[in-house]
Symmetry: C2
Subunit: 484 residues, 2 copies
């Protein structure tokens, strides 16, 4: 302590002292010693602590996600179930006492999954467990069949300037590493999003990838992919990890598997979804917004429990804590349940367009499953960084650490919030969840309620309530963001 | 030690002393102290120990199962893949140097799975992950739809003499407990095998069960069910555990789910499979057989890696150890890879008919996945029980214990071996594997190579080689079985 090197977050000594003061307040010191810091009044900090403790006892979040997946189920953007999810959300936000509850239309062009199947036809008949990737075009009605051209990963495909992919079905055996912070997914996911473009560029008739996931289940992972207007659109799908292993073992034997696939889908279906919004009204700074978000839509394949029923439940329960706590925040805390995060960010885009003139103090999103939060990082003007440190002080008893060094102010919020941060320069917060097991079930049929732990969910509620409260009370503006 | 109560297996003091002598030989005593017991020569025990040590270094079993699931895949009895599995097995047994390698025809009536799907139609549309149970009749071509009548377990259904099931689709939410010895499965499986009969007796139009499995994957477990000639045959299928949870949660809310199902299948398809046999020829007692078996067929849904590619690999690799060890057994050790264990025991029945006149010293079967062996129990005339104890002595360093008390001579061998034991009174051995995780993947699409641990497989090889050798050398006849 005390040396420059040991001060986390690259803070000045004075900022660090402030942060330490906030931190000290969270420990078991006699109340008399809890003093007003330059940032927060003692009452505000004490209230944050009480939110934290009440959050840990929360049962509302689990009840919400249980209700959503039981009464609505999967809810692909633009589908009838998505419309039912919007009604569900409106009813729940109202029931929980939030103010200004409303659904705001989000026009979108939906992609609709149709029947799909794939099988090996050589060296012997074998049915593959597969799923179309989001946005994939269909095959001809009778399907297509081709030899497999094996690539260990996307890089190997990109490096191949031979004719091998031409007329073949390119298989990308990209592995996804299990990591706590999702970086393994981050490194692998381009095989899903860009595989079709790279394969089509080389004349392939279709692309199939090893599921971008860390499990070993015969369950394939879907997820969005995209095309390049300059390159032919070819069908794209994923097979389960054990099926990918099988293809790899056949390849390793020098055999050339043949694969038959038929895949139906519809792109550009005109539909409407809604962002659902509810608020904890602010007081003296009510026109400023602290946005805590999640996305209401899910992929069609699972129940959307972790992705992102959990996030919906967490931020809604956190707002309810703020609503019922007896004190009103200075700024307005706004829950936004975004439409169509999964395949287009239409909800985020619509929100940004509508509210671009509104001052957003902070935006955050819970969209990384239901694991406990373990790290906080923000993105704000440097003068506001001590607020993140102060937040970290209150959150430390939850096992939440501050991102270290410059990373403390390089937080990358959830996907919708990320879109808004980049487009509108709104300050952001990232409460990073433990994603060690998340990519076992992410974007699969296996995304169901039984994978959610109610205790870890409550820890999330606790963290979001604290962060929203302190952002709403902060005496400093978080905007404008530093460049970069 | 020494008191009657502490002697395992209900042995006499003299038997126990013999067993202890055998046991002592396995410990690190100087070789000079290893003496001939009444049961085995020191050379036979030393050879058993060398088999044990070589077995632990085995890599053949993993290579075999890898080859089977990669080059053949799933192999439902009577299917073209089953025929390929027979060819595969013949080639492998010959390659490994076994003698008298042959395929013996097994006529059977196969059940063939057709397309099947089920979905909730109320309270909202939701696609269920399901699989037809083996032997299920199909629905009418257009499918059928009915309200769900919920039962927490088979017992609850049996206890219901109301009209509630009539015209409805009976749902049995039978849970399967996770246990090491498979007893949880044993307690639950009647819901699968008998559910249709109990539901049809009460006028139900179909029966759907919670998968008999311990996992929480959106993967349904198949398995055999049967009908009663006195009762209408209704379609029977299983849904995945998370889907069963969903139905249960809807039921708990007082909602009555409606379910639409269409299921195609064909029963009684005339087909031929084969038992594949290979031998380690005996010497002075060559006409007597020590049978170590497994089943070559698998359900169609997975790759048949654990069920029972692992067993095929284990007993084959054990026989190879015996073949290559330099010494020949007194009795013939016969590997039998049974046809159609999964849905009819046709291979076991055909084997029994053909070889009923042959003296079988001992029969055993490896068919409980790929987990390590942790317990030995036999079934023989009382005079032979000390042999089991002596086997236990050699196996103890592998972490294998003897079943305690009367259970030592109440072993229940694998399914085919069990059929033969009951029908022909042949003595039997059970090497119980750790089945803690087995029912996560048993009878599912998830039964794939990646769930097999090569080290645990080698421990199995080691145990089977020891047991087969000592049974082949034993100076006592194991038959006839005691009554009961």
């Amino acid at each position: 302590m005390g040396t420059k090197q040991s001060i986390p977050g690259g803070l000045t000594r004075r900022q660090a002292a402030t942060a330490l003061a906030a931190w000290a307040m969270t420990s078991a010191l006699p109340r008399a010693r809890a003093q007003t810091t330059e940032l927060f009044t003692a009452a505000d900090v004490a209230y944050a602590q009480s939110l934290r403790e009440r959050g840990l006892k929360d049962t509302q979040a689990y009840a919400l996600v249980e209700s959503l997946v039981t009464e609505v189920g999967a809810r692909a953007a633009g589908s009838p179930n998505d419309a039912r999810a919007v009604q569900w959300a409106l009813a729940r936000l109202r029931q929980l006492g939030l103010a200004n509850v409303r659904a705001e239309p989000v026009p979108l062009r939906a992609w609709q999954r149709g029947p799909a199947q794939a099988r090996l036809t050589a060296p012997y008949p074998h049915t593959l467990v597969m799923t179309a990737l989001g946005n994939s075009v269909g095959t001809p009605p009778q399907g297509l069949e081709a030899e497999v051209a094996y690539y260990a990963d996307l890089q190997a495909l990109k490096a191949d300037d031979s004719e091998r992919p031409r007329g073949r079905l390119v298989f990308i055996d990209q592995k996804t590493d299990r990591t706590r912070d999702g970086s393994g997914y981050g490194r692998a996911v381009a095989a899903r999003s860009m595989g079709a473009v790279e394969a089509a560029r080389r004349g392939a008739v279709a692309v199939v990838i090893r599921s971008i996931g860390t499990d070993h289940d015969r369950i394939a992972h879907t997820g969005a992919m995209r095309y390049d207007a300059q390159v032919a659109q070819i069908p794209a799908f994923a097979v389960s990890v054990p099926d990918a292993d099988l293809i790899a073992r056949l390849h390793a034997r020098g055999l050339v598997p043949r694969l038959q696939v038929s895949l139906q889908s519809q792109s550009g279906v005109v539909a409407t979804s809604h962002n659902v919004i509810g608020e904890v009204p602010g007081t003296d700074l009510a026109e400023q917004v602290v946005l805590i978000g999640a996305h209401l839509d899910s992929w069609d394949v699972g129940h959307g429990a972790l992705d992102d029923g959990a996030g919906v439940a967490i931020v809604t329960a956190a707002a309810r804590l703020l609503m019922e706590g007896g004190r009103r925040p200075r700024r307005t805390v706004r829950v936004v349940l975004f439409a169509n995060e999964e395949n287009g960010f239409d909800g985020a885009n619509a929100y940004g367009e509508k509210y671009q003139g509104v001052k957003h103090q902070l935006i955050g999103e819970s969209d990384f499953g239901a694991g406990r939060v373990w790290r906080l990082a923000g993105r704000a003007r440097p003068e506001a960084v001590p607020v993140f440190t102060a937040m970290g002080g209150v959150l430390a008893p939850l096992g939440i650490e501050l991102a270290e060094g410059p990373a403390l102010n390089q937080g990358s919020p959830g996907p919708d919030a990320g879109v808004l941060m980049r487009r509108h320069g709104w300050p952001a917060i990232a409460l990073t969840q433990d994603g060690t097991g998340y990519f076992d079930v992410h974007h699969t049929e296996n995304d169901t309620l039984d994978k959610i732990d109610a205790t870890q969910l409550a820890q999330n509620v606790s963290a979001w309530a604290v962060v929203a409260w302190l952002a709403a009370q902060a005496p400093v503006d978080f905007a404008p963001l530093p460049p970069g």
